[in-house]
Amino acid sequence: MGGIIRLVVFGFLALSVVYLIVTVYARSVRRENLEKEFDAGGIEGSRDAFIAEGMARYRHSLRKKLLLGVYLVPMAVVAITIYLVNYQ
């Protein structure tokens, strides 16, 4: 029993670290793209407002995708492995 608990706890911690790092990276890339898009010209309004609005919109879509990818995918992989190894 302790083994499973250890797996769940450490797995959750490790995946949370991965989630944080990927969030920082994705937001950084998105901010850079927004800046380039504004600097390319043709957008009215202030630069800061444009970037802030784009980042706010990005936040929702990113969170959904990231939660799915970072937490669900490893859990599915573990489940498939358990099935393939033990129930052949």
Partner: protein, 225 residues
């Protein structure tokens, strides 16, 4: 000298990572099983290559009842697998059906006259010098000793590892470009302005009276930035 060190270190790293992957990733052997039994085995300095003990044990050596599976290849060479449950953490096989596997191995025993070939999925190394055995994970009957299979799991795992390595490199480059380089550029400008101020002060303090005046000026509060 330094190039030797650099390359030596890189080669050592490659060997380490490659060896670790070769040990942990699954491999398939086409063998004929000859025996399946268990035996009291002492696990000492080679503890790293065995499953972690189920209960807390005294340090040093310990003697455990370990299941083994004897098998023979088509060319006549033999191999011995152990059949242990893996822990829940490492290596990530989540294997807990070693009793069932032992029963399957018993069922697949065959003689040289009427051979029954199976494909044993295993990980680990057989190194008699250290008394370590590969851990058998699965047994699948195959048609004959010439059967081949594509190592799907290995392909998927190695591709994922390569992708992860690439992503980590990109994350590092992005971090450096957005966070570190601008700060360094600012620091560089700050140093340049300090240099310029020092040059201006030195230019003012020329000659004996210039130097005395400059010294008197240091008693005043420093100029605002």
């Amino acid at each position: 000298m330094l190039t030797y060190l650099k390359w030596g270190f890189r080669i050592f790293l490659i060997l380490l990572v490659g060896g670790f992957l070769h040990y942990t990733l699954p491999q398939h052997d086409i063998v004929r099983i000859t025996n399946a039994y268990n035996r009291l085995t002492t696990v000492g300095a080679n503890w790293l290559f065995y499953a972690s003990p189920d209960t807390g044990t005294a340090e040093g050596t310990e003697t455990r009842d370990i299941r083994f599976i004897d098998a023979v290849f088509a060319d006549g060479s033999v191999i011995v697998y152990r059949n242990e449950d893996t822990g829940w953490v490492w290596p990530p096989y989540f294997k807990y059906d070693s009793s069932n596997l032992q029963a399957e191995a018993q069922n697949s025993k065959s003689s040289a006259a009427a051979p029954e070939w199976v494909s044993v999925t295993h990980y680990g190394w057989r190194f008699p010098f250290m008394s370590i055995y590969p851990n058998a994970v699965n047994i699948t009957p195959v048609s004959g000793p010439d059967d081949t299979s594509v190592p799907w799991i290995n392909i998927i795992v190695l591709t994922t590892l390569a992708f992860l390595a690439l992503m980590i490199r990109r994350m590092w480059l992005q971090f450096r470009e957005r966070a570190i380089d601008p700060v360094l550029a600012d620091a560089g400008e700050a140093w340049d302005s300090v240099d310029a101020k020092a040059d201006a002060a030195r230019a003012k303090a020329r000659g004996v009276f210039g130097r005395i005046g400059a010294w008197f000026n240091t008693w005043r509060s420093p100029p605002r930035r």
